[in-house]
Structures are given as C-alpha cells and as structure tokens.
C-alpha cells in the first residue's frame, strides 16, 4: 500500500482529542467543531540500498557537472564540508546520511590517489559539535581516520587566519569563505535537506561564511521579505544566498554538491502514536500515549530532556542527488515537497501548534524561550507556500512550557539577550539597530563560540529576525502552558488552557474564528491556495 498523502481533517463531533506537543510534554486537546487539522503525508518508502543510490548519484551527476571520480586526481586538495548538528531533527539513527555519503566520496578519493583531504563541519555561526556528535554524524571509521590527525575541522567564522574574502556580489554583499575550502581544488558539500530552506547555494554561502557575509541576508528586512523562507522563490534570504552562490561559482572553488532527502519517519516504533492520526489509534497507541504523557509529566525536567534527547530518529533516505548546485537543489526540493507538501484551502483566523522538545538549535540542549519563539514563529509559521496558513492579523496559539531555562554552554549570549535586550524592547528593527553589533563583536562571545560550544553572540538576534515576518503578520501570539514571566518577556500573551487562549484571541478574531492546527512533527509544508 502506498503511503497516504497529507490530509486536512475537518473536526466534527466524533473527532477525538488531537495530540499536541508541549515541549517535553504531550497533551490531547479537544478542538472546536469546524476546526481543521493538517496532517503531513505518511512517510515515503526509503531507498532500499542507499549506498548504491549514492554511488549512482556520484557517477551520474545532474546539471553541468562531471561525475565525481573525474573531478578527483592525485595531488589535489579536496575538502568535504557537511551539515552540522542542526540537521536532521531529531538526529537520525546510524548510519547518518552524511556518513554514507562521505564514505562513498572518500573511497572514490582514495581510488583516485587523493591524499590531501580535510573534512569541515559547516557550522556557520552555530556551536561547535562535540566529538561524540561528530562521531555520530560521520561514523567511527571516518571519525577515527580524520579526527586524531587534525583533519576533521569545524568551520570557525571568527578565525581571521582562516577566512578569505572572495569579493562582493553586484549587490555589494561581502562573500567570505572558509580559507581551506576556498583554496581547494574541489569542495564537496554533503547535505541533509530536512526542510525546503536547507541546501542549494545556502549550504556553502552561509555554512562556510563569516558574520560579515551572513549579516547581508540574516537581517530583519530580508526576513520580512522572505514569504516564506521555506519557499526559495519567494524568499529574499535565498535570493541573496543565490547571488553569493553564483559569485562563488565564478570566483571560488569548484563545488560538487550532494543533497539527500529524508522521509518523515520521525520517531521510533514505541512512539508510533506520534505519527498516527488520532482516530486511527489502536489500544497499543493509546496505552503508549498515556504512559508516555504520564511519565513525562511526572519526571523532572532533566530526566525528560535526557530521555527525549537520546531519541534517535529512524528517518530514512528517500533520495540523493549530486552534481551542480542549482540543478541538484531543484530536484531535492521536488523530493522534499513530495514528502511534506499538503494542499490547504484558504487561510484561517487562528493557527495552533504544539511545539516539540527539539528544534535546529537545541539538539542535546535546552529549548530556551527565544528558541521557542523561533521554532514557532520562525519555522512552523513559515512552513507554507503561497500564503501563510493564518490570515493577516490572525492569532497564533502555541503550546509549550516555555521554561525560563537556558543551556549555559550552548546559549550564553541568549541569556544576556533575554535579560538585557528583550527586557528593553521586542521590536526586531530596534533590536537590530541598537544591539546586534555589540553582541556580534563581543570578544567574550567570540571566545566562547571559538573555544567552547557556544552559538555565536549574534545568533539569538537571528532567531528573533526569523520570527519577525510572523510577528508583523500576526496580531497576537498566545502561549498555552508557558512560564508567564518568560512568555511576557517575549512580548507574547500567556494562557493556562486552550480555552483561555481562545477567550483572549476573541477580541482579535471575533467570537467564531476559524481554527487550523498544524499537526507537526513530522514536518509538513502547507501550500495554501
């Protein structure tokens, strides 16, 4: 039986309560009759033999590119850059796509007699990965053959010695790049395309760039003109990245792009109920829901995090394509949409979403309030094509515990951003104007980014900009079940129950609003017609 496509459920009297994530907890909420629930398509079948598929892709590149083997030669400088810890979500069960692809690339390089090979995690301004995380992404063989010899690097956007400026685009955008990558005869980029935003020219133009480059597209103006940034043809973020990417194509190293897509098989079998539609739950699903929800509500926050962050997702590869960046990415996007796209008719007054425990920036970490804002208003809100699921001046009701909690190692500048910046203003433009520079240039944050495992000092700003399109579009944001003080600091309203939130939304959307729930994760992309 082939997997069922995405589905928009119209809630009626017989509809059972719907599953909502609330960070590290879960709940079932009864939605009003007439509400809609958008379910993602079921997981597409995985590629039976990924190694074979990878080999095939490497040997049969698309676009204007020769097969990989023909690009490799003895004495060459080869750099393999790969996506960092932010992908995929949750981290996938071994072997990771990156491991499979890189092993295949390395065997071809060995065959060609290439001995100058360096691996670089394309961190952009993300935190350095730990050895354990690198080992998980790359596998023991790759890790042990590179790490001990200093050949497994993590991109350092603040290392002046190892950043080169390639030039400026015709829009005056600085194009900086990792020096090793720039000076290579071939740069192979290995990606995992979880959401439509990932991949393409963004891989290199952002992943291996510096703050001086990234600031040209990671800013409030660009983000407000990216409608959405998940839809590259309507995304200013991508337009800028593509300009940079094309500049690199002309002036930088030769790039061989390898992109992979995953299916939405997101949770291990014991959590199968998370992916099933509620009216189809059997007894086992019900029992596992109740035991999970109960044990989560009874555990300490540390225990919950430990358990949840140890989940490795059974995502499987659905496609792999290699060759020239733009051609590859076009095909990749097709494959991503095949898995995630759901057609939705018309906008809604209220969009509801239950946020899971994990987002791109808190893998093995803590989802702090700023990340809550980013995951909901940045990511979930923007998972649309054409127009947002919620109408202009509509309301978003978000379910999350929103604890006043931060990971001290990963998010030090977030702590200060929350304490010092958001306490003064929530306005993205003001924040950008008055605070960004000082955080971005702060030597202590730079020190922590470079030597510890901290996100760059400017990163919390980007999280806020990510949400700026939604903040402008919505008239109210309500968080259900959050820490009221933390929610208030974000500039949102806090409600203790869904009903309270509905009451609060009433003066914005009237007594009888339309409601649409995004049933994520697994991820879905709504094409609103």
């Amino acid at each position: 039986m082939s997997p069922r496509p995405g589905f928009v459920l119209d809630v009626d009297k017989s509809t059972p309560p719907i599953l909502f994530w609330r960070g590290e907890e879960l709940s079932l909420e009864k939605l009003p009759t007439g509400s809609r629930v958008i379910y993602p398509p079921e997981a597409l079948p995985a590629i039976k033999n990924p190694r074979e598929a990878i080999a095939h892709a490497l040997d049969n590149p698309i676009g204007d590119s020769k097969p990989l083997s023909e690009l490799l030669f003895a004495g060459m400088k080869l750099t393999i850059a790969f996506d960092d810890i932010s992908l995929p979500l949750p981290p996938m069960q071994s072997p990771d796509n990156r491991q499979l692809v890189i092993e295949e690339v390395l065997s071809r390089a060995a065959a060609a007699g290439v001995d100058d090979v360096v691996l670089i995690a394309a961190l952009a301004l993300h935190r350095r990965m730990t050895d354990a995380e690198l080992r998980h992404a790359l596998g023991d063989r790759v890790f042990d053959s590179f790490a001990p010899y200093g050949l497994l690097l993590q991109h350092d956007a603040e290392d002046p010695e190892n950043i080169v400026k390639l030039g400026e685009t015709d829009h005056g955008e600085t194009v900086d790049m990792n020096k090793r990558a720039a000076e290579s005869d071939l740069l192979v980029y290995v990606n995992i395309n979880l959401v439509p935003m990932d991949g393409g020219h963004k891989s290199v133009a952002t992943g291996l760039a510096s703050y001086e480059s990234i600031k040209f597209h990671h800013n409030v103006k660009t983000m407000r003109h990216s409608k959405s940034f998940m839809d590259m043809h309507n995304s200013e973020l991508h337009t800028s990245n593509w300009r940079m990417g094309r500049f690199i194509r002309e002036n930088g190293p030769k790039i061989f792009q390898i992109e992979t897509t995953l299916n939405t098989n997101t949770f291990p079998s014991q959590f199968r109920f998370l992916e099933r539609r509620e009216w189809e739950w059997n007894l086992a699903d019900r029992i596992s829901y109740h035991t999970t929800a109960l044990s989560m509500s009874k555990s300490t926050i540390d225990m919950k995090r430990n358990i949840l962050h140890s989940i490795k997702s059974p995502h499987a590869m659905t496609s792999v394509q290699a060759g020239e960046v733009e051609a590859v990415h076009e095909l990749t996007l097709k494959n991503v949409f095949k898995q995630q796209l759901v057609t939705v008719e018309g906008q809604t007054d209220i969009v509801t979403m239950g946020l899971p425990y994990i987002g791109p920036y808190n893998v093995n970490s803590i989802m702090n309030p700023i990340l809550v804002a980013c995951l909901s208003l940045g990511y979930f809100f923007n998972m649309y094509k054409n127009r947002p699921v919620v109408r202009k001046d509509g309301v978003a009701i978000i379910f999350h515990t929103t604890d006043w909690a931060f990971h001290p190692v990963h998010h030090p500048s977030y702590i200060d951003f929350f304490e010092q910046v958001l306490s003064e203003t929530n306005n993205p433009l003001e924040i950008e104007k008055n605070y960004e520079e000082s955080f971005a240039r702060d030597p202590w944050y730079i020190h922590l980014y470079r030597t510890s495992h901290a996100y760059h000092g400017v990163h919390p700003f980007y999280m806020w900009y990510w949400a700026s399109h939604a903040m402008e579009h919505l008239s109210q944001v309500i968080i259900v079940g959050g820490n009221p003080k933390a929610v208030h600091r974000l500039g949102f309203k806090s409600a203790s129950t869904f009903n309270d939130a509905m009451e609060m939304a009433e003066d914005r959307v009237g007594r009888d609003p339309t409601i649409t729930h995004l049933h994520m994760p697994p991820l879905l992309m709504a094409e609103v017609i």
Partner: protein, 790 residues
C-alpha cells in the same frame, strides 16, 4: 535674679560633650548671657579640644534655637564666651598644661558632669571616672588656687539619685556618708581592688586554656581566613573576655553592696570620696534621676545620644522585646533634661555662702509628681499602636502586650532562647551551606543577637523598672520656692509642671522615634541602604580594580571536581565510578584539611597530578572549560565581570585553582593569579611553584595591583564567597559577598556589604560530582588512581 548673680562669672564644665553637659552649655549661653564658659574637653586622636567643641557641641541641634536668635553673630559670640581647654578627668591633675591650668584657675564655679554613664562599664574604668574623677577635680582645684593665688571655686558635682537605689522607700537628700541605710566601704580599698582586678583578669586571660579557647572561638567565627586575621580575632576575644569579666565583676560587687550596678556604686563612692577630699572647697551635689528628653528647652523633645530608655522603647516598638520586667504600680523616676540644667544653674547662682557641709539637691519626680510604670507602658502601647513603626518590607509592626512577669522569669526565658539559637547556629555553621540556607543561618544569628540584646536590656535596666526607692526633693523645692517669680519661670525645675501623658506622647516618644531613624511610613524606604549605596558605586565609571575569587563566586565547582573531571576524561565507566566514589569517601577528610588550612589542602591535593602528561591535560582543560566551568558558572557573575570590563575597570581573578584550568577564562580578566604546577619531561611533578594565593596573600596581591594603578582602597571591589577570603574583602573598599557561606553572610549583613545571590543558569544540567562524560577509548592519563590519602 540668676542672670545677675552669674554675671561675669567664669563657669568651668566637664562632660560638656555629653547629654547633660551639652544642654547645660547651651542653657548657660542662651539664658545667662553674661557669663563666661570654660569647657574642659578631652582631645581625641583626631580632634583637639577646640575642634570637639565646635564639631560635637556647637553643631548639635541643641543650639538651633540660639543660632537662630544670634543669627550671623553666633560664631563670634560663642567664640568670645567659650574657652576650650584640653583636660581629662581620668588622669591625675586632669592632664592640664600650664596655659590651660591658668585659665581653669580663674573659674568661679566648676560643674563636674563628666561621668561614665554606662551601666555596664568595666569595674576599673567606672571606678576611675566616677569615683576618682571628683577627687581629682577637687585636688586640682585646690592646688590651682594655691598656685595662682585665686579663691577656691564652687564645685557642683553631678551625681545620681540612684546612689540611694538600695532603699525601699524614701531615699532622702543627705550625703552618702551620713546615710543610715548604706553600706559604704572604704573607697581607697575599692580603688585598689579594682586596679588589681584588671591585672588579675589580664593574667587569667593569658592562661593556656583561655588562649586556646580564644583561638578556637576565632576559628569558629571566621573559618580559615589566614593567620593574621585569626590572631586579630583571637586577641579581640581576649580583650572582650577581660572587659566582660570586669563588667560582671563591677555589677556583682555593686549588687553585693546593695546598688543595682557599677554606675550607682561608683557614683556613691565618688560622693564619699569627694566629701573626704574637698578640703576648703564649697561643694554642692546635684542628683538627677533618669534624665530624658527635654520638656521645653531648648525645644521640646531635645535629646542627645541613644540612652537608657530609648533602646528599650525602640526595641519594644519593633516587637523585639516581647516581655519586660517591672512593677506596673511601681514608680519610674524620669526627669527631663532641662529641669536638671535649671537646677544646676540655680545652685550655681545661689551657691553655698560658706564652706559648709556640702548641700545635696535631688532632681527627681518619684515623690513630687510620681509617674507609674504601668502608665508609661500603656502610653507606649497606645502610641505605637496609633503610630506604628514599619519593617523594611513596609509593613506596620504590632507591639506586644507586656504582662509584667518577674525579672527572673523574663531573664530565664530570654537566656533559654539565646541558648537554643546559639546551638542551632553552631550546627548550621558546621554544615557547608550556600545561598538561601546560608542566609537562613544568618537569620538565626541575627535573631540570636537580638535576643542577646533584649537579655542585656533586661539585665541592665530591669532593676530600674523594679526599684522600690523614691527620691524626695525637699531641698530642691525649698531652693525653687525661694526664687523670684521670673527665675521660677525661666529656670523651672519643679516636676509638678510635667504633664506625664502629654510629655510621653507628644514630646518624648516622637523624639525617640526620630532619633532612632526608625521607619514611620509604609512602603519601601526611599533612602538608600548602605548596601544599595555600595551597589551604586560598584558600577560607576570611575577607575576601579575588580577582583574576583573563582570557586562559588564565578563557578559552582572546586579543585576536587576539576581534578575528577580531568582524571576521568579518558576512563571507562567502571574505573570512572571507582574514582568518583573514592573522592566521595575522601570528601570529609579533604574538607577538614581545607578548613584547617587552604594552602595545605592545595599542596596535598595537587600532588595527585604527579606524572600526568602536561600537554594532554592542558588540552583537556579546554573541554573542561565548557563541560564544567561554563556549565556550572553563574551567568550573572560573568555578566558582572563583563560590565566591569566594559566600564574600563581592571578585572582580576585570584584563585587557588591551577593556571591551565583557568586559562580559558583569560578574555574576562586583565590579570589572572593562579597556581602553577612544576613540570619535568613533559609531565607534572605535583609540586606547586609559587605560594598559593590564599588568605592574606590575596589581600597583598590585590593591594599591590591597586598601588600600581594608583587606586586607593575605595576603588577596589572584591568579590568572594567565604570567610577564607576575609583578608581580601577587608582590604577592599567595596567588598561584595557572593553566594556567601553562613559566616560570611552574617558578617556581610552586619557590615552592610552588598550580598549577591547569583544562581546557576536556570535549567542547566546538574550532577553531584563532576566526571567527564565522554571517553575516547584511551586509558587514564592521570596515573594517581589510588586516591587514598597517604
């Protein structure tokens, strides 16, 4: 007419910086415009007699009225009428130089009001001032008169009505030497005994057992802040022991002879001694009872200093004295200060005509216009119910209702409370507490000290509220009646004029409340507390040296954990657990060494690094930085350091931790002072290269740095968490206690040091003992796996 009688008279006064003396000086200046004053004032280390007169007497609000009357001429007139001479009644010959002696020789009237008025003075100092003082005055006046060929002045000795406190019933205005109901020992023997007591007690304080006891007490107070502070504290305990013993000896001796305390006892003997040594001097005794705020002059409610009844009243209003002894139907003898000055001036003006037997004038209310103790308590209760004081949270304080149990019962209850709290406090300071628990322990200490204070009030003043003695003032009334009406009005000292309820409610209590600077309005206090003021200075842009301790100040971790983390970095689970358990088992032993001497502890502990590969450990330290330091850091501490840096302050880390471990913190600090380990052939040898920066060493390092930057003490901010950093904190102008342990918390509160409560980051990971969570498959690099103490 008194003004006429005192015209052009030279009046010498001792004790003019005191409550009564200031009132007297002002009264004479204002009401007797044509007399000259000679103020005999003891110079202090910083102020001369003249400066004390200007600063401590003339600046007092007592002179507000006169200042207003004289306007711009105030300075000129006071200068022309007052001659300040340097003298000291506790020294033979009053410590006068030739010039001053000549000035004093010219006086017509000498009013001796200097006294040690404290009820709990040590025996010998009470004897020296109260007993020997009058004798010295008499001897000096006699010899000056002979030397300068001047007539002897009239000596007015201010004594106390309570010389007769031992009486049940009336205590008449007769000389103590003539009293039938007084056991008066030979004063010379008492003087000799008091001197002996001082030296005997001193000897006793130096016994082996006592010296050991003081050292132990110092350690209990301070922990391990280094030798010099401990020595200083132990010496203070020894001095306190001597003083306390002499206070107790004084009280016991007085009580054995029938007086309530050393004050009344020494005053009585002082009268006797003066009678004996007065020679041809004309002497009058003025005996006021309990002198309190003025009825009218210079203004209603004027008072100086926090005296006997005031602390009791304020403690009552703050609900800190739940009970107080006393007989409600008994009479409490209080007299406003202006009545006493009037009496003195009258006696000075009228004077004894010839060298007769000294006259005695009591200025007291208990017979002439008795005021019941119960009435006083009721008036206080009413007053503070209507006008409550407010606690620091802005809540009104309800006053207790006193039920007048006996003194014994109140004392027993309070002693019990003190004992229980002391016990709890002892236990709490033994446990390693932090944060809220530590402050709870500081709360207990505060409660204990309040209970102790209450107990001391009961012990000191209880006898005054229970006294059965009454003090008639027949002589005084007779003198008063003899005055012309004008003087009666101007220099009234008849207590009949006092309307007690009015005096208490509208004069005395408002004045006491004002003087206590107690909070009388609801809401948060507007004025900044000492702590808040200090806070404001910390982050102003003036150049500063900001010095930080590491453990518990910036991070919630310690050297043992750093070691454990590094040692387990390359270990499998089994040996990792064994090492952790071993350190746990050793914990108490390590804590003990640490408490005894931090330096010893570090030397002992760092030996474990012997044989470890230096390069690898230093590399691992960078991961430790993330995994242990940043994870366990206090974000507010880091934010504070960064704020200092932003303001251009010099930031310094002084720590007993190893240099390579704190190296990653380098960008936060302009300078890091840490411990270095010796290396041989690429391996650590376990030896410390320099003296660890601990205790006094920290203070010295800090002061040297400040000196280099030409910054004085006021520009040093020091942040630390425990009493072992006390030398550093004390050497800084702005000491800040960060997450203090109980002893430091209590100390910081008392001294008004800012206390910072910097929490770990909310939601950050927690674990009991730091062991590295990652392993790379290799075996341990720190070979000292056997961590049993040698």
């Amino acid at each position: 007419m008194i003004k006429e009688q005192l015209k052009n008279k030279k009046i010498a006064i001792t004790g003019s910086t005191g409550f009564l003396g200031t009132a007297l000086t002002e009264r004479l200046l204002r009401s007797v415009p044509e007399c000259q004053l000679i103020l005999l004032v003891r110079p202090t280390r910083r102020l001369s007699a003249q400066q004390r007169v200007e600063k401590e007497i003339l600046k007092n609000d007592c002179f507000d009225k006169l200042r207003k009357e004289l306007g711009s001429k105030f300075d000129e007139i006071t200068k022309s009428r007052i001659t300040a001479i340097a003298g000291d009644v506790s020294v033979d010959g009053l410590g006068l130089d030739q010039k001053d002696a000549k000035i004093l020789a010219s006086c017509d009237i000498f009013i001796h009001s200097a006294a040690s008025v404290s009820f709990d003075s040590p025996l010998d100092s009470a004897v020296n001032v109260n007993l020997l003082g009058p004798v010295r005055v008499a001897e000096t006046l006699k010899s000056l008169s002979q030397e300068h060929k001047k007539p002897l002045p009239h000596l007015i000795a201010v004594s106390t009505a309570y010389v007769g406190a031992g009486h049940h019933g009336l205590s008449p205005e007769v000389l103590v030497t003539e009293s039938k109901h007084m056991c008066l020992p030979d004063w010379r023997e008492e003087v000799a005994a008091a001197k002996r007591m001082r030296s005997d007690t001193d000897t006793l304080s130096r016994s082996v057992e006592n010296l050991a006891k003081f050292a132990k007490m110092a350690r209990e107070d301070l922990g391990a802040p280094g030798t010099s502070l401990l020595a200083e504290r132990a010496e203070k305990h020894r001095q306190d022991f001597i003083e306390d013993t002499l206070v107790e000896l004084g009280r016991k001796r007085a009580q054995a002879l029938g007086w309530p305390d050393a004050y009344a006892y020494t005053k009585s003997l002082g009268e006797a001694a003066l009678c004996e040594s007065k020679g041809d001097l004309r002497v009058s005794f003025i005996r006021p009872s309990i002198v309190e705020s003025s009825l009218e002059s210079p203004h209603a409610g004027w008072i100086r200093g926090f005296r006997m009844a005031e602390p009791v009243i304020i403690s009552y209003a703050r609900n800190m004295l739940k009970q107080f002894p006393g007989v409600p139907e008994g009479v409490i003898d209080v007299i406003p200060v202006d009545l006493v000055t009037s009496a003195i001036i009258t006696v000075a003006a009228v004077g004894p005509e010839k060298n007769d037997k000294p006259a005695v004038y009591q200025v007291s209310s208990s017979v002439r216009n008795p005021f019941r103790y119960g009435t006083l308590v009721n008036l206080c209760e009413d007053y503070f119910t209507k006008n409550p004081l407010y606690d620091n949270k802005g809540q009104p304080i309800a006053v207790p209702t006193w039920t007048f149990p006996g003194r014994g019962k109140v004392q027993a209850q309070l002693s019990q409370t003190v004992n229980i709290l002391e016990f709890a406090e002892k236990i709490l300071t033994k446990v390693p507490l932090r944060g809220e628990m530590a402050e709870f322990s500081a709360d207990i200490e505060e409660k204990r000290s309040l209970a102790e204070r209450a107990l001391s009030y009961v012990e000191l003043y209880g006898s005054y509220s229970e006294t059965e003695a009454r003090f008639p003032m027949d002589n005084s009334v007779k003198l008063y009646e003899s005055l012309p009406d004008e003087d009666k009005k101007e220099f009234c000292f008849d207590p009949l004029t006092i309307d007690w309820p009015y005096y208490v409610t509208h004069v005395h209590l408002p004045s006491v409340v004002k003087h206590a600077r107690a909070k009388t309005t609801p809401g948060k206090s507007v004025s900044l507390s000492r702590e808040e003021r200090a806070r404001k200075i910390i982050l102003n842009p003036e150049p500063k040296l900001a010095v930080f301790d590491l453990e518990q100040t910036i991070i919630n971790s310690n050297v043992v954990e750093s070691y454990a983390w590094l040692a387990t970095r390359h270990l499998g689970t089994g040996p990792k657990t064994r090492l952790a358990m071993g350190l746990f088992a050793e914990g108490m032993e390590l804590l003990k060494i640490d408490r005894r001497d931090r330096s010893d502890f570090l030397r002992y502990f760092y030996r474990r690094y012997e044989g470890a590969p230096a390069a690898q450990v230093k590399k691992d330290a960078w991961e430790l930085f993330s995994d242990l330091f940043i994870t366990r850091s206090y974000p507010k501490a880091i934010a504070r350091i960064r704020e200092h840096k932003k303001l251009g302050h010099k930031t310094v880390l002084i720590t007993g931790a190893l240099d390579f471990i704190v190296e990653p913190l380098r960008p936060l600090f302009d300078e890091i002072v840490a411990v270095s380990l010796g290396e041989e052939n690429g391996k650590f040898n376990g030896e410390i290269l320099t003296t660890p920066p601990i205790g006094e060493a920290r203070a010295i390092i800090m002061e040297e740095m400040a000196a280099k930057l030409s910054l004085d003490k006021d520009h040093i901010v020091a942040y630390a968490d425990s009493t072992s950093d006390l030398p550093m904190l004390e050497a800084a102008g702005i000491p800040v206690a960060v997450n203090p342990e109980p002893k430091l918390a209590a100390m910081a509160r008392k001294r008004g040091w800012p206390i910072e409560r910097w929490p770990r980051v909310p939601g950050g990971p927690k674990y009991l003992l730091a062991v590295s969570r990652r392993q790379l498959g290799a075996s341990t690099i720190l070979p000292t796996l056997d961590i049993k103490a040698e």
